[in-house]
Amino acid sequence: MGRAQPLSTALVALVALAVGFLLAGQVKAQLLTPSNQVGRNQALIRSVQDLERTNQADRTKIEALRGEIDALEAQAASQSQTTQGLKNQVADLRAHAGLTPLHGPGVQVDLANGPPGSDPSGQGRNLVTYQDVQDLVNLLFASGAEGVAVSGRRITPMSAFSGSEGEVIVDQGPPLFSPIKIVAVGDRNGMEAALGDPNSLPSLRLREIQYQLTLGVRGAPNESLPAFDGSLEAPHVGPA
């Protein structure tokens, strides 16, 4: 009894000390971010989220409008051979522009960031960049792809890639983040061979080893690509 009481008192004191430590840490963590800065940043984040919602709503609207136009054109084409001829030509060009879904043999490429902290320099070389995606898409087209989609975003003749650290923007966005899934339809053997070539994608392969980025490739007999749901407006260019 005489020995047990000091022991339990010491235990309680130790636990109380730990609680105090954690409470202090908690308060410190909260004080680290000045409320003004957090407020400003939260306002910016809200702006991004609002813009993303508008972006998604606009895409849905575009998809619906294209569907309605297609139906109206089909109706008109059923009454005129000239219209039907034009519609067939447009359908072919729409397919090549990525405005209609495409399916067939192909490959799926999964690209993911290396684990956090795997680049001790803090330069984010463990993160997937838009250049990585650009290089992969170019390689796929060069090796026989007839259509490509990046995380559900169909590539068109006007497509471009941009972004900042760890963020990939295809055309009109919104930003995509790791893991990125690239699906291509076309010459499956050609694409698999190009992706398996150790001399292709030098930057990615080096960072795969150094920073554990992951690059997974899988061929499939039937891949599906969605239609492009963004804008193909080109107001500054006209026929010569």
């Binding site: 309680v12 636990v15 800065q37 087209f141 010459d187």
Partner: protein
């Protein structure tokens, strides 16, 4: 004697059971606070990452411009739908012909013209990846039609590094590269300025210049490849 132990036992039992209960309660409290602490730190880290002002500013700028483009596309499609709803076959023919012309431009199947920039890059040792980067930067910077050394380029035209040098659409295209981009000249000039500045700091580059022109003609066209594997 016997009463003392019996009278002490309950007291002793209550003390021995209250001790562990208190310790367990405190341990529970510690665990609770530790959990809150860890979650709070994770949240702080997460929000700090998200709150990178440069990333947020870039996203806002990009999304605002994108949404403007999407709005323009919605307006165009809405007009097209209205025209189709109001007319019969002739309205449909007009709408289809307009789309046909537009898609031929976008896919690089016809010669085009418009305002833009002309970049000249003279270098030795630049690779296909350098050319792809340059063309992608211009495409992301507002280009609507592109050509390199009179070869038309759209996304999907293979730009490949071969033993003989860089090929564009299967044709050897050695530097100097004259890149023509038609589009919004304000945005394109801004992009070209940044590109040429960066290129001049590259030891492989002898010359990197650009000029803005009010009307550029791209006569080169792409031959459409039919689908062999894909089914629309």
């Amino acid at each position: 004697m016997s009463a003392r132990p019996s009278s002490r036992r309950p007291r002793q039992r209550s003390r021995t059971s209250a001790g562990p209960v208190a310790v367990w309660l405190i341990a529970l409290l510690v665990a609770l606070v530790a959990t809150v602490q860890l979650r709070s730190q994770a949240e702080v880290e997460k929000s700090l990452v998200q709150a990178d002002p440069a990333t947020l500013a870039f996203s806002i700028d990009q999304l605002s411009r994108s949404n403007d483009q999407l709005e323009a596309q919605i307006n165009d499609l809405t007009q097209r739908r209205t025209k189709l709803q109001s007319g019969g076959s002739s309205a449909a023919d007009q709408a289809l012909q307009a789309e046909l012309d537009q898609l031929r431009i976008l896919e690089g199947l016809v010669p085009v013209h418009g305002p833009g920039v002309v970049l000249v890059i003279d270098a030795s040792g630049l690779t296909a990846l350098d050319l792809q980067d340059a063309l992608n930067n211009l495409a992301a910077g507002g280009s609507e039609a592109l050509a390199v050394n009179d070869r038309r380029v759209v996304a999907g035209v293979p730009i490949v590094q071969t033993a003989g040098g860089v090929t564009v659409g299967g044709t050897l295209t050695p530097p100097p590269w004259t890149i023509v981009a038609i589009g919004d000249t304000n945005r394109l000039a801004e992009t070209a300025e940044a590109m040429t500045q960066q290129l001049r700091s590259d030891r492989r580059v002898r010359q990197a210049t650009y000029r803005v022109e009010s009307d550029i003609v791209i006569r080169a066209v792409i031959t459409e490849r039919p689908f062999v594997y894909g089914v629309p």
